[in-house]
């Protein structure tokens, strides 16, 4: 461990903008992308469930 204080750690020896800009961009995109992928999956699942529900209702109406 070679940081003497928290402030020194965040200052990154004067390269704060570049180091944190790089790690920050990676963190941001790597949080957003899985979120979008999961949303795409849950959306198609929801629409499929709705579709099946509609099918079931239709068959019920036809029977009664």
């Amino acid at each position: 461990m070679h940081w003497n204080s928290v402030g020194e750690f965040f200052a990154m020896g004067g390269y704060a903008l570049y180091v944190w800009g790089s790690f920050g961009a990676c963190a941001l995109l790597m949080i957003v992308e899985p979120f979008l992928a999961k949303r795409r999956l849950s959306e198609v699942r929801k629409s499929l469930i709705r579709e099946r529900l509609a099918d079931e209702l239709e068959t019920q109406q036809r029977i009664s």
């Binding site: 004067g14 961009a25 995109l29 790597m30 992928a37 499929l48 099946r52």
Partner: protein
């Protein structure tokens, strides 16, 4: 032996791959987080300050993994696309389609972190150097692949067109990789060389490898999530999908 090969081919069908992918995703996430924590710890607290670049060199711990993954994902994507073209298997095209956005993200991160590294060390955000230019072309290849697939309504035809683009674009990968050798570039030579002992400190090397493993596991987890969505989107009118959902 024969039996086990047939067992593996079973997973080539979207129907059996869909639940398998669902079971694998949490494990890849767990691995990504574990490698990520270890990698970040080494990146910031164990790896020493660089003699020439001070703390600025720490960008390497995300720049190199993102660059490696951008090239590696392209190779995997082209492999699946080519397999789909040759064998006409349904899942291959879906895999290629699911990998493209993650590959584009890695290429974008490679360019972004490279710019943030280039500015303090070279004095420029961007130079038209062979390494940087070929990486930019890789980014555009991913975008082109995605745009081409999105523009064609019939998924099977979209797969075929995308596969040809992906396979032609493969030529760019060795160009990126060897660009620092073939041309006189501002970009430094390869950090890790298979024939020579690494020129960097052991701890720096470990940090980079752990971060690369984290990015790798992340890419698999996201691509598997996306491929599940693509499977359902494309197979929505089949009987098995109707029974696959709770």
């Amino acid at each position: 032996m024969r039996q086990s090969i047939i067992q593996w081919f079973r997973f080539a069908s979207p129907q059996s791959f869909y639940p398998l992918a669902g079971r694998m995703i949490p494990w890849f996430w767990a691995a990504a987080v574990a490698f990520g924590i270890a990698g970040l710890w080494i990146s910031f607290f164990v790896a020493p300050t660089d003699a020439q670049q001070g703390e600025g060199y720490r960008i390497i711990f995300v720049h190199v993994p993102a660059s490696w993954m951008s090239m590696f994902i392209y190779l995997v994507m082209a492999f699946w696309a080519g397999l789909g073209l040759a064998l006409n298997t349904r899942l291959s095209g879906m895999m290629a389609q699911s990998l493209a956005p993650t590959g584009a993200l890695m290429a974008a991160l490679s360019l972004w972190t490279g710019a943030l590294w280039g500015k303090p060390m070279w004095g420029a955000w961007w130079v038209w150097d062979a390494r940087l230019t070929s990486e930019l072309i890789l980014f555009f290849l991913y975008l082109g692949f995605m745009a081409l697939q999105a523009a064609i309504d019939d998924p099977r035809r979209a797969d075929k067109a995308g596969a040809i683009l992906a396979l032609v674009g493969v030529v760019n990968i060795p160009i990126i990789y060897f660009s620092v050798k073939w041309w006189n570039t501002l970009h430094q030579g390869s950090t890790i060389n298979l024939t020579k002992a690494p020129s960097m400190a052991q701890t720096m090397l470990w940090g980079m490898l752990l971060m690369a493993l984290c990015f790798w596991m992340y890419s698999i987890a996201v691509a598997l999530t996306r491929v599940r969505a693509i499977i359902l989107e494309r197979e929505r009118h089949t009987e098995w999908v109707k029974h696959a959902l709770e």
